[in-house]
């Protein structure tokens, strides 16, 4: 650990020396060098106390870990790491793999694999997204001008370095358009899906997570129509639900598509609900025809090529599929939850 406060950094070096010379190692925790740092706190200006106090605590933690390491009770002897098992362990007690029955794949990654498989079969490449990105990819390249009100719909986490925790997988659109631009020259479409993790600055509850999964789809070629978009998504979701389903679109607004839609699919038999008109449909995706400015940002001539893009949540699909009541279970690592997804 490096300490930014010069006083603390100096104390750290002193303590290291002190510790080496000590016979009674735990006595280091009672060292005046450490105590003096703490007694410094009330003397500091109020606005500096918190940062300083935090660092002193970190130092104390580090010193405690030195003591822990030589503490005989906690400390364990060197072992032969090149051996296959410990000395004198009888055959039946040697390391074994757990029963295959216990093993599981996370329902979200399993779903992503399922979605990706459909995408492959439809001729789409599968890519992953970044977890730290910049304003250009998250907003500007997607035709969100600075201070545009459309940004209000994305509660983004920002790092202290001014970077962004992407709030949608569309953050990869510009890169994908650039990476696959060669396809167009070869007469092939750009067809990519990007399922991955995204973040929203939202308080947690049973239906809201700050960390969740989306999948993004991009398709660019010559003479792509709105009808192609509807047909592609309908085919994709019909395959997903293993049933031929009707689709409908509703006008919407996204800065990076024009026109933009919300895409709804007829509820599959497995998810049938009530009888009202609203119950007949499942709103699953946002989509639209890629805005010419987005293509331009990637150096694609929007007079020659055009296309569509869509984005949808993964968590909700999985919750519906299994009837999962609380989205927070996904990242809880609770075995009682995970082991149900055999």
């Amino acid at each position: 650990m490096t300490y930014s406060d010069p006083k603390i950094a100096k104390a750290f070096e002193l303590l290291k020396k002190e510790f080496k010379g000590l016979k009674d190692k735990p006595a280091i925790l009672r060292s005046n060098t450490l105590k003096d740092l703490f007694s410094e706190i009330p003397k500091l200006p109020v606005e500096k106390r918190s940062a300083y106090g935090k660092e002193v605590n970190l130092l104390k933690n580090e010193v405690t870990s030195w003591v822990d390491e030589i503490n005989n009770e906690l400390n364990l002897p060197v072992i032969d790491v090149t051996a296959p098992y410990d000395i004198n362990v009888p055959v039946e007690k040697r390391p074994q793999l757990l029963s295959p029955e216990l093993g599981t794949i996370h329902p979200l990654t399993k779903e992503i694999e399922y979605i990706s498989d459909i995408a492959y079969r439809m001729g789409f490449n599968v890519e992953t997204s970044r977890l730290i990105d910049d304003d250009f990819h998250m907003f500007t390249s997607l035709n969100f001008p600075e201070d545009h009100p459309a940004r209000d719909d994305y509660d983004t986490f920002i790092t202290t370095d001014g970077l962004i925790a992407p709030a949608h997988t569309s953050t990869m659109q510009n890169r994908m358009l650039i990476n696959y631009k060669d396809n167009l020259e070869k007469g092939l479409p750009i067809a990519v899906i990007i399922p991955d993790r995204v973040f929203r600055n939202e308080d947690l509850d049973a239906t809201h997570e700050h960390t969740f999964y989306q999948h993004e789809g991009i398709y660019v070629a010559k003479n792509v129509t709105v009808g192609n978009l509807i047909a592609t998504l309908r085919a994709f979701l019909s395959e997903y639900f293993q049933q031929d389903l009707k689709a409908k679109i509703q006008p919407f607004y996204f800065p990076f598509t024009e026109p933009s839609f919300e895409f709804a699919i007829e509820r599959p038999d497995s998810l049938k609900k009530g009888d009202t008109e609203a119950d007949q449909w499942l709103e699953l995706l946002g989509c639209g025809m890629i805005h010419p400015n987005v293509l331009k940002h990637a150096g694609i001539d929007s007079n020659v090529y055009n296309g569509f893009a869509w984005g949808g949540g993964v968590d909700r699909l999985v919750m519906m599929k299994y009837g999962i009541e609380d989205v927070r279970h996904f990242q809880s690592a609770k075995l009682d939850f995970l082991r149900q997804f055999v």
Binding site: M1, L74, P84, I87, P95, I158, L204, Q250, F261
Partner: protein
């Protein structure tokens, strides 16, 4: 955006009101956007009647209550009446009097103001010994306004405003409020007004809408003579004001009050209500200042103008809050001080009140981005902000202000006086035309719509369209600020035509196969290998607390921090995966899981990794696993947990066709990934064949165990995913099947206790490889046993050597000779 069907109809030349709500909402859904909710006000005002108060005398047992007999023209059944057919009501309102017309809520009806929350249903009940059959209602109870000092006195003169008439008819309340999702209209400032929505409803129902004349007049001018100026045209593209003198403040008429209440605006007085009315109608916010209060804040002649605020300047707003302005805020000011936060909220000092005689009405246009920034900065979210941050048209200020001023004079008296318009030449006309190829439109939509039909669809919503062979020139009306490029026209035509009518077909495709993503595929492969070995894949947050990092011996300064984290628990991007996994061990142990293996594959971020070619932090994909077993239920003789983690790593290696090398450490390595590990009981792992370093496997330090309440029986590994994938991509080797039976020999080596097992095996492998090369033998070496007597300085390690030869059967004698060779070589080598 709450749309009142009645209100919209008032300004519509086509009959929108008689379109059934179901049909209307279906067409909105398909062609305009999502509906949040639909409220039918006729349900809310069901069974409520106009009555005449025939007599009102003091209640015999109360000073404040009146005993009234009311006439409802005998319209309500099942209610007790006197001989004259009148109904008795006990009323507490001070303004109840004989001869007035009022609104009666009979028994069984619901108080309208409670309709949306907890419905309050009236009954006949006694009040101090006298029965009251329902009640007479105040404007507040009727959800018309906040007025609750007295009951509503009905002044309206119409055939419905007679005893027995339905209140909803008399007050034009058979209305439906459609709440449209705002997000839909981010690029449609006109749809934040009744007029705009009504026009869209006409358009999507293929009806030709014609805006009221006053709205589309191109020759409206605002009188001059008021002193103002506009020095910040990029921030305030247009600034228009009108002075009106000699007005009288009173309540608005009930209709305006009722319409405003329906869409969520609180009625205040005739002036403020009218400014709100025109905002709700046209999407254009306006603001009225008290002229005389403004005059007192001017050093000379009365003048207001927009300017940027000064840092630290203070302004007390209409809501009573005083804010510190910044140089990024637009204010309306006199020469002495700021009097309003431009486009957001008016100021307290110049508020219109009951004594106001003269007013200045401002109707300006503001930079949408500046308004949004100011709104976010000060946390002010007003109706005006909602409209201005969508980019209102600069061409509508004069027409709206002229009409508003006219209505003010009608409602409040007074005279139109001097005014100011920064851009008098801007008239309410169409924008320059966008020319679009008809084929392009049809190619984008996949449709075959003739140019003439396109023109009709657009002119229904008041576009000017010229068809010139294969091109249409589309001039958007002045209130539309979203038609700039061909794609905007494509959207407009597609939407008005109906997307559901477009042909739907899949793109055609070449049979060129798509390459699979090797990283994703390797990911899936690892998951399958591990889940089939009883391990559970987990996903955990990418964000962790500083505390967790410190508890695992890591340096939080290496982490990217969030500046707006939800909580300290989620403040840093994780440096490696291990701390996340370890933080999930204790809860699972406590949940009763005595032995488990969890793993995760995910991206990590370390400042030390620097930036990539895009200048962004490098993202390192890692693969981490943790084995843990409850100490209370684990057999003491099963040895160190380290070997369990190693078992899993070796298993994966086997499945990937790899052999791994485990390197004993002599001191603590200082990498973030190795920091949680106890170096004395951990190994650096690399690929035996290529030497590629992969990661760390082992047990965790005493302080990590203590901090995270881990069982001693906990161990795991973290390896670099990319490196593992690269070494695993080699093709598996094949050994031809044995034709001749092999034989096996067990050799026990008696060695110093601190001799590493790997060393013994290393020598064995060395000599067997030599023998393979020289004599063509095939060997397999199996670890059979490692034994150490208590307190002994020696241990014995037994290996089984299986050997065979592809061309012959080995005799016992030959096998013994080979095994002796091996034993000799190893013993000699160890002795060196």
């Amino acid at each position: 955006m709450k749309y009142s069907v009645k209100w919209g109809q008032k300004y519509s030349n086509v009959d929108l009101e008689s379109i059934p709500v179901e049909k209307l909402s279906a067409s909105i859904g398909e062609q305009l956007g999502a509906i949040e909710e639909i409220v039918d006000l006729s349900h809310k005002y069901k069974d409520i009647y106009i009555v005449e108060v025939k007599s009102a005398i003091k209640h015999p047992d109360s000073d404040k209550l009146s005993l009234c007999q009311i006439d409802d023209n005998r319209i309500v059944k099942d209610v007790k009446r006197n001989k004259a057919g009148l109904v008795q009501i006990v009323c507490g309102a001070p303004n109840v009097k004989e001869g007035m017309k009022a609104v009666w809520l009979p028994p069984g009806s619901t108080v309208p103001s409670s309709f949306d929350s907890e419905p309050f249903v009236l009954s006949s009940r006694e009040l101090r010994g006298e029965v009251s059959h329902g009640m007479l209602a105040s404007p507040k109870e009727l959800d018309l306004s906040d007025e609750h000092q007295g009951i509503l006195e009905v002044h309206i003169k119409s055939k419905y405003a007679q005893p027995g008439g339905l209140f909803a008819d008399a007050y034009n309340l058979k209305d439906v409020i459609i709440d449209l999702e705002n997000k839909m209209f981010t690029h449609r400032p006109d749809c934040f007004g009744m007029l705009g929505v009504a026009r869209e409803l006409a358009g999507i129902n293929n009806l030709k809408f014609i805006s009221p004349d006053w709205y589309t007049q191109t020759d409206v001018s605002i009188p001059s003579g008021f002193s103002s100026k506009l020095n910040i045209p990029t921030q305030v593209p247009r600034f228009v004001v009108q002075v009106i003198k000699g007005i009288q403040i009173k309540d608005s008429n009930p209709e305006i009050q009722s319409l405003l209440t329906r869409v969520g605006n609180k009625p205040i007085n005739n002036i403020v209500d009218l400014t709100n009315y025109y905002m709700q109608l046209t999407g254009q916010p306006t603001h009225a200042f008290d002229y005389d209060k403004v005059a007192k804040l001017c050093s000379g002649e009365v003048s207001i103008f927009p300017r940027m605020a000064k840092d630290g300047e203070e302004l007390t707003l209409l809501n009573g809050k005083t804010i510190q302005l910044t140089a990024k805020d637009i204010v309306i000011a006199t020469d002495k001080q700021a009097i309003a936060l431009g486009g957001v909220m008016g100021g307290k000092d110049t508020e219109v009140d009951n004594n106001t005689k003269n007013i200045i009405v401002e109707c300006a246009n503001f930079n949408m981005y500046t308004i949004r920034r100011t709104s976010m900065h000060h946390g002010l979210f007003t109706d005006a902000v909602t409209r201005f941050n969508k980019g209102q048209s600069t061409l509508q200020n004069a027409v709206v202000l002229a009409k508003l001023s006219k209505d003010i004079v009608e409602a409040a008296g007074g005279k139109i006086a001097e005014g100011y318009d920064s851009n008098p030449a801007m008239s309410a006309d169409h924008w320059p035309a966008v020319k679009v190829d008809v084929n392009l439109i049809n190619s984008r939509l996949g449709s075959d719509i003739p140019a003439g039909e396109m023109a009709k669809l657009l002119s229904n919503v008041e576009f000017k369209v010229d068809i010139n062979e294969k091109t249409i020139a589309v001039a958007a009306p002045f209130w539309r600020t979203d038609i700039e490029i061909a794609e905007d026209v494509v959207e407009e035509i597609g939407r008005l035509y109906g997307y559901d009518k477009l042909p739907v077909d899949l793109p055609s495709r070449q049979i060129q196969p798509v390459s699979k993503n090797t990283e994703v595929e390797f990911n899936n492969r690892l998951r399958k290998i591990l889940s089939s070995a009883g391990a559970n894949e987990i996903l955990t947050y990418s964000f962790v607390s500083e505390k967790l990092l410190v508890n695992c011996g890591q340096d939080p300064k290496e982490a990217y921090h969030l500046s707006n984290a939800l909580s300290p628990e989620l403040q840093c991007y994780r440096l490696t995966l291990t701390p996340s996994l370890l933080s999930k061990v204790n809860t699972n142990i406590r949940a009763g899981h005595d032995k488990f293996v969890i793993f995760e594959i995910g991206k990590t971020h370390l400042k030390a990794h620097g930036v990539n070619n895009e200048g962004l932090p490098g993202e390192l994909e890692m693969f981490s696993l943790v084995f843990s077993a409850n100490d209370n239920t684990t057999d003491k003789n099963s040895g160190a947990a380290y070997y369990q983690a190693k078992k899993y790593l070796d298993y994966i290696a086997t499945k990937l066709g790899l052999v791994l090398r485990y390197e004993q450490l002599t001191e603590k390595p200082e990498y973030e990934v190795t920091k949680p590990y106890d170096w004395k009981r951990s190994a650096l792992v690399s690929d035996h064949h290529s030497g590629t370093f992969l990661g760390m496997v082992g047990e965790y330090t005493a302080s990590v165990r203590r901090n995270l309440k881990l069982p001693v029986n906990t161990a795991g590994f973290e390896v670099n995913y990319q490196s593992l994938m690269e070494v695993a991509s080699r093709v598996a080797t094949y050994q031809p099947l044995e034709k001749y039976p092999g034989t096996s020999k067990d050799i026990t080596f008696d060695v110093n206790a601190d001799t590493k097992h790997g060393e013994i095996r290393g020598f064995v492998e060395h000599i067997t490889e030599e023998l393979s090369a020289s004599e063509g033998l095939i060997f397999t070496v199996i670890d059979l046993d490692i034994y150490q007597k208590p307190n002994s300085k020696h241990k014995s390690t037994t290996l089984r050597i299986e050997m065979s030869h592809p061309d012959k059967t080995l005799t016992t004698q030959q096998a013994n000779k080979i095994s002796d060779k091996i034993a000799d070589f190893v013993n000699t080598s160890l002795a060196k």
